[in-house]
Amino acid sequence: MIKEKLKLVEKEEVAKNVYKFTMEGSQIPSQCTPGRFLHVQAGDGRAMLLRRPISISAADERTVVIIFRASGAGTEAIASVRIGDTIDVFGPLGQGFPMLEDGTALLIGGGVGVPPLYFLAEELVKNGVSVKAVIGFRSAEDVFLEKELRHLGEVEVTTENGSYGTKGYVTDAALLKSAFTTFYACGPKAMLRPLQDTMDAPGYVSLEERMGCGIGACFACVCDKKEGGYVKICSDGPVFEKGVVQL
């Protein structure tokens, strides 16, 4: 957990209002693992006090990649940063995805839930695990990371309006009925809930919540556990084993 000014070295609009930022730093990148997130300052932090949690979509020793939708004032401010400028980042935070050692992983992502799964896919493939992915979007113009994921394994795209791939939600995808060892899912609660309730295989879900501190100190992001008690999404998660949390 380091606070560092990362330098924006590459910037690309990968879908409508969705930006891919490649950032350089000396400390944060090397600590990044799939499923963890960065707490990113928006603007100069004077009018917007709270950092924005954004998942890590790739990382190596010197660079880290995030992919995010510019959907509000904060993410728009972040999207307006120019190449060569720095971004104030605190991280990496949270507990990431547990790794598989063998078998087949099914990755299920909705919208901006897809970015962390790409990082996971890369690492799984490095581990010798086979990877299949279901990624869901609103419509054809919103699709991103499809090509990159296809390099790593089979991919099924769903769109709500059917303008590309399978029509419907990720839960309508054919791949969900294929064989796999473990699933990993990231997206809105409405997507995770049916997955947690209906999937037979073991798996992990990655959650979102509005956050204050990002390190477990403010109790903004609690989520009830099924068996009583609670977890903090920022520090105990955002990734939880299937069946642990109430969705």
Binding site: R46, A47, L49, G212, I215, A217, C218, F219, A220, V222
Partner: protein, 310 residues
């Protein structure tokens, strides 16, 4: 850093800077980031007699230069706090300012008697102002009689000094301050959060599940400064100032207004390293201007002599 050493009732501090209650939990998370012994003290999360689950999420929302929170005093209960959560501050050797909340005078007394007994605790901070809990809090903070009553009751059972944390959601904060002074308080903490609300523009509904929340951050600093300016001239109690502190200049302003120590809340979320950073900057700020001791600044906004005008 001898110019920073600050001794207030129950709080023997190497400097006058502490994290504010609710923004630091009990220190475990921050102990991973820096050496807690750098802090002057630590105001820890509110303790209630029984464990509390708090409010449904969302519990926070951003506003211009501020934020709203409606955590709902989630905490494991006074006994568990005393048994399991004070060790980080204890090991660092910094005094704990134990925040106490409740929904009745008995509640307050019960939590207070447990917390006052903990050896790590230097003083109690009576949260009579938390605006998030429907049945309690708010009425104590907006009524001089009730505020005095709960203060008197807690002072009676506590063997540690009691600071009363005042609510800004009142028309006459000096009346409350004077009333709790008479009732036996050893100090004041001010200010707690202003009641506020943010709506989702598209749906028109409140963003916080609790609907209203407490407003904190730089947006409220002018309100805090004015209240401390006023109250510090009306009582003799030392004041722990807070509300929007995020720079060393803010700390100076709170001292000038009348504070004898300060607490940093919301700013910990933007920069978790801010407390030790501000402590160092405070020492430099005073050194550069050759001010012998930080307490020389207390109340210089209204004192007419005997203090450095710089």
């Amino acid at each position: 850093m001898s110019r920073l050493k600050t001794v207030l009732p129950g709080l023997d501090m190497k400097n006058p800077v502490m994290p504010a209650s609710g923004c630091f939990a009990f220190g475990a998370e921050f102990a991973d980031l820096y050496d807690l012994s750098l802090l002057g003290a630590a105001a820890v999360k509110a303790a209630t007699p029984e464990p509390r689950r708090g409010n449904p999420v969302p519990r926070v929302a951003e506003t211009d230069s501020g934020m709203l929170n409606a955590i709902g005093l989630q905490n494991p209960g006074a006994k568990a706090i005393k048994a399991d959560h004070l060790n980080h501050c204890g090991q660092a050797g910094i005094p704990v300012l134990a925040n106490i909340a409740g929904t009745s005078i008995d509640d307050y007394c019960e939590a207070a008697s447990v917390m006052a007994d903990a050896p790590e605790v230097g003083a109690l901070e009576l949260n009579i102002s938390c605006p998030n809990v429907k049945e309690g809090g708010i009425q104590f903070g907006n009524d001089p009689e009730l505020a005095a009553e709960v203060t008197r009751a807690v002072c009676n059972i506590s063997n540690k000094p009691v600071y009363v944390k005042l609510s800004p959601n009142t028309g006459d904060i000096s009346a409350i301050a004077k009333s709790v002074e008479k009732a036996g308080a050893s100090g004041l903490s001010m200010i707690n959060t202003l009641i506020g609300m943010r709506l989702d523009t598209e749906t028109g509904k409140p963003i916080l599940a609790n609907k209203t929340g407490g407003l904190s951050g730089p947006a409220v600093k002018p309100v805090a400064i004015r209240m401390i300016y006023e109250v510090s001239q009306q009582t003799d109690l030392p004041i722990i100032g807070m509300g929007g502190i995020s720079s060393v200049e803010d700390i100076i302003d709170f001292f000038s207004a009348g504070a004898s120590a300060v607490a940093v809340g919301t700013a910990n979320f933007q920069n978790p390293f801010i407390c030790p950073e501000l402590i160092e900057q405070l020492d430099e700020w005073l050194a550069r201007r050759q001010i012998a001791h930080v307490s020389d600044l207390t109340g210089r906004s209204w004192k007419s002599c005997g203090v450095p005008s710089l």
